[in-house]
Symmetry: C2
Subunit: 208 residues, 2 copies
Amino acid sequence: MEKIAPTQFPIHELLARRWSPRAFSPRKVEPGVLMQLFEAARWAASSFNEQPWSFIVATSDNAEQFQRMLSVLVPFNAAWVQHAPVVALSVAKLRFAHNNEVNRHALHDVGQAAASLAIQATALGLAIHQMAGFDVEKARAEFSIPAGYEPGAVMAIGYPGDADSLPAPLREKELAPRSRQPLEKILFAGKWGETSPLLGASGKQQKA
Amino acid sequence: MEKIAPTQFPIHELLARRWSPRAFSPRKVEPGVLMQLFEAARWAASSFNEQPWSFIVATSDNAEQFQRMLSVLVPFNAAWVQHAPVVALSVAKLRFAHNNEVNRHALHDVGQAAASLAIQATALGLAIHQMAGFDVEKARAEFSIPAGYEPGAVMAIGYPGDADSLPAPLREKELAPRSRQPLEKILFAGKWGETSPLLGASGKQQKA
């Protein structure tokens, strides 16, 4: 299923097509294809090129690891994620390697890596769905994540599935239109809260 | 100038071509084109679709606003950013609108929006360079950013310029090869620090 973003201004089709489904096909993801996703994450931008990201990945081929990954999710998420073939957890390194100072952008840059991963997934016909709904301390214990590192988000990864495979309440969410706040609410100039006049000056001549 | 990422596995050309130059052309960015970048940011993924991002944008057309934006940068950055036609600051909303709880992913999701913006820029022949090197409290004061919101990163935006326009030490950085840690160091399975066997199983058959 495709859910193209209804944009105010045109954006690249990979960005418009990226969304977060809950219906995944049981089709396995070939290891070489999966590596392309993490490769995309690897080349994200980061403060001081620190690359504060790492990922713990579990595939349904390894039932023990997969079940442990599902066990850290809140039950609402585990119920649908169990049908995805791959689940991964991002982890942020909280201090810089070069001076041991706190990296204020650690999670920010893990987010950049996750966004790159999502766009690479879209390019390959895959989808990812990131989740905040998991037990951070359980994840830390389950995967021996050391002090100084912070679990980021859990993501379900796979080929898109059929919305009809979802139970009714999730099916409704799956089919609901995508929405965002208008640009007028988030793009300021001069002062926080004052909408940039560029938005008017653009004349929306680029409107798709 | 192009600086294609030397990848272990092939990634989409937009991701491979995205990098963070310091040499910008003085060419202005048309308002409609600039809006496409923020539109891309707007459609990023976020926890609970909170969309915790906002942006304060300054263009060189408005000298007063532009100088104020430059004034929050560390001098090392201000020296080269002054030649870019657009500079923006991302801002993260730290609590969820729906329940006022702390949003642990606020900066993470602002990072996702920034990555989307960077990829849209690449698609349009523009470049962005994000910076952690600025005075967060000065930015807060200068742009009246309220409590509960956190300045994220400053980004220079524009069309790519000529590396020869940079002073020698920056020119060297501009021409240096791109580098990242190998996937073996960041992709784990079962336990933090244990390299995923999928990396071997992939056979790197996708190698470009």
